[in-house]
Every structure is written in structure tokens, then in C-alpha cells.
Symmetry: C2
Amino acid sequence: MTSSQFDRLLPAAPRDGQPENPCAACAVRDLSVCGALRPEDVARLNAIVNQKFLEPGEMLFLEADPAESLYVITDGSIKLYKMLADGRRQITGFLFRSDFLGLAFRERYAYSAEALSATTVCRFPKDRLEALLDEFPEMERRLLSIASNELASAQDQMLLLGRKTAEEKLASFLWILSRRAMLKEEDGRTIDLPMTRMDMADYLGLTIETVSRSFSSLKRKEIISFTTPQHMQILDLSAIAELAGIEEDAWEASTALR
Amino acid sequence: MTSSQFDRLLPAAPRDGQPENPCAACAVRDLSVCGALRPEDVARLNAIVNQKFLEPGEMLFLEADPAESLYVITDGSIKLYKMLADGRRQITGFLFRSDFLGLAFRERYAYSAEALSATTVCRFPKDRLEALLDEFPEMERRLLSIASNELASAQDQMLLLGRKTAEEKLASFLWILSRRAMLKEEDGRTIDLPMTRMDMADYLGLTIETVSRSFSSLKRKEIISFTTPQHMQILDLSAIAELAGIEEDAWEASTALR
DNA sequence: CGCCAACTTGATAACATTCAATGTAGGTGG
DNA sequence: CCACCTACATTGAATGTTATCAAGTTGGCG
């Protein structure tokens, strides 16, 4: 598993045990829920977090585990998924540095979370975080805003899964990856794929074969090109947008990865 | 369009103009965000709400409209949907009495909202509601909890759209309707279908013909029976649960309509 | 160098869609 | 009150997109 471009943006969190004041030094703080706190209050976060390191393929938690913690990714990437009894799987999201997961105002998690690459997360025990939310309403507002945005992305994904063709699905996925890449590098045409074809298939409601064939079809049309199966270029971004069903005048507004 | 069983549970809101104190008399208050307020604070809600009546098929708002209001349904039912440029449509949820909609921490709505039956909603201007949230954190917590539950339902729907067969999709839909019916009447085996086959198809990522064929297949297996196309009985609830992919021991925990 | 996992490509099959016809219920007007 | 009309729903036949089954190919790693 290669690491994604998202892993290179910011200095990695220290991996040598529990640092003294991880939140103060946290490179992703401003990007996440934690950014709602003023610098002088950040010490309050330290009191309740601990860091956790995950190898690729390692589980953070399982669907139906008691939902006792919330997490922020400080480094690496994670996939979320749900399964049917016979093994069919639906990936509901790929998460990267600064993303937030584990929100569940219920007993148990609604999905499993597994590390895609080597990953560092900050763990917040739910009860202690809730106590903090009572004290810092800005943090709760931020959480609500995150949840609301995730909901909008989930609805985009429903449209994709329910109504788009295989090639449209793949183009939509590449569009999202391109948008994300654009946050870091200027043109968003160089795309890393840290997940396997199987993961993409389970995210798009397809099989690996169909994902592969759709890639080949886009290659044949000279819309994309590969250097390796994990590393590609978008040659014609407007063709991708067109296939993804994004109107030209809405390029700016299009949504995040989940 | 017939009205659903949900429309009969509680006395209808008065339809003769703007009542003096709608919130105090509101039959669904305790079920919704508004229930977070203590009775003496409910007057604060009155100050900012107004009611709106919709005929079947009437739009509450359109995708990409400026997101200026949030709504609570006090009577009737609403469908939410997104569309592609060529007319393909994905319904992301059916909403009923006491349901909440319009949450969007962004400029514009992510979906369109259209009345399924004759519907009454309470409208809360976004800016004034946010001011109220600052004052009443319990209300914000409730909103966060609602958003979190909707997110879990959205993930269930992704699993349905991406990985279930037509018959499994329909069984899952009937299971949800049954759960909802169970909140009101004991056995949850009598199901009203206030939406058309087209609406169901667009909710399940199918065509009307496939929905109809799947209904017929369930009829042939004597799992369901119809009195009219809008009114049915579940004869074998455990067969529905099985097809929906709900494990017997998780019957209690299964989720809401969206 | 060779093995293994991941990916790609090809041939066939299946499930859902599309196109088409028929059936049914509710509403309107003669 | 019945006939007719329109919507919606059901059923049938054919087509097509994607899944399944089956080889190959590639690339990374011991």
C-alpha cells in the first residue's frame, strides 16, 4: 500500500510514544474540531486525548462495537465500511489527515474503521469529550457543521450509487480525489490512489473488474493516464467533471470525499 | 396520493392561518428539536417560527436554493431528492411528522424537498435559530444527535444502494416502514405506501418495473399481500428481516427511514 | 530469479433496464 | 349512474450493463 499525497502535506506526528503536549504541537488542529478552541484552551484537550498508531489493515474499531470514542486522524488514511452477512461490503468513506470519525449518538458504531496506510489518530473518550462540548459551544457548533457536511456528501454518494453508470461513478470518484489534491497542490491533476481496486469497487458499488475496465475506458479516451496502477494523471479535467455530472459553473462548490 | 398512517397519529395542526402560539400547542414538539426546550422557553420558538402549508407535489425548496430556513414537519410527508442533468433522480429520504429538514451549514441546500401529501411545516429562519442555539445548548445537542442518526441511516442506505439486490432493497424499505409503523400501532404489519412506485424506485435505485416485479415476487412467496397498491400487509416479518439483512438479534436496534 | 498479490483483459451469464402492452382505480362529465 | 379518460401499476419480451468465471499480465519483495 503506498501512502497518499495527503500524507505529505504536513509534518508527521511524533511516533515515539506519548508526547507531553500533543495537541499544542498538532499539525492538523486548525483543520479539525480542535480548531474551535483558543490556544489557551487547548491544554484541556491534552487532558483527555491519547494517540494511537495503526498499521495498514489494522482495525480501529468494528461495526457494533460500543461507541466509546471519537477520533481525529493526524496522519495516514482510514476506510469506513459496512458489511452484509454473506460478505458483501460497502465502503462509506475514505478518511485522511484532519478528518474526524466515530460520531455516534448511539450505543454502537454504525460502521467498521480500518487503516488504509500507516495511520496515527487522536482518541477522545466520548463522555469526556461531551463534557468538554458543554464547556465550549464553539466546538459543538463545529461538530454540527462537520456532521452536516458529511450528510451532504452522503447524499451525493447515494445519487452516485443509485443512479450513475460505472464510468460516471469512477469519474465522480476521481473528481473528488482531484478536488482534495487541489487543496494541496495547484492543479489537482496528479492523483494518488492509496486504496486497492477492491476498495474502490466497494466504495462505488462495483466489482474490481468493472473498476479496471472503466479505468481502461477512460485511458482509451485519453481522459486519464497511469504511471503505475496507484499513480495517475488527469489529462482532461472537464471531461471528468462532465462524466461526474458536475456543471461547469459549480466546479467551486463541489463537495468533499464523504 | 393517499395519506399515510403517520398522518393519522396526532391531531392535525390548525390550517386556518397563523395561530397565536403554535409551538405551545404543537403536537409533535416533544418528538423533535423543539422538545429540548423547557415549556417556559417554548415562547421563544413562537417568536421565530411561521407555519407553511403545502399541497401534494408542491416544492418546499429546491436544490441549490439559498439555505435560509430549517423546517419541522408537523403534519404530512415530504420527499427529498437530488437530480442529474438528464433527469435521473435519487430520492435521499422520505420524511414524516416530527421529522426535521434543511440542516445545511453551507450556502445552499443539498437537495430538493417536495410534499408527498398535504403537509404542514414549521419554518425557522436559520440565523434566528442559530441565535437560539447559542442560548439553549440542549437544543444544539439534540440537533447534533439528529444529524448523527441521519448519518447512520445514510450509511445504511449506501449499503442498500451499492450492494443489495432489487428484492433485498424492497424488503429493506418495507422493514423500515414496518419499524416506523410499529411506533404507532402494535405489530407493524399493516403498511401504507403514500409514495408512488416511481418514488420508491428513485429511493431504491431501481425502475418502477423492477419495484413492481419485486413486489409481485414477495407476493408469490406469500411474504406480503396487497389490498390496494397503496395499502399492504406483511405476512412474514422475519422473511422481510432476513431479506433486508437484519440479524434476528438486532431487530430492536435497526434504524429509521433515513 | 521466482513467487504472490494486485491488476487487467476476455468470454459468458445474470439481473435489471428498456420497450411495449395490458390492467386497474380514481376523477370528470355526459 | 355509467362511460370515459388519465394516472399509475403490473406483466411480458428483448436488450444491455455489469457481474461472474477464467486466463493472463505486471510489479514488488523475499
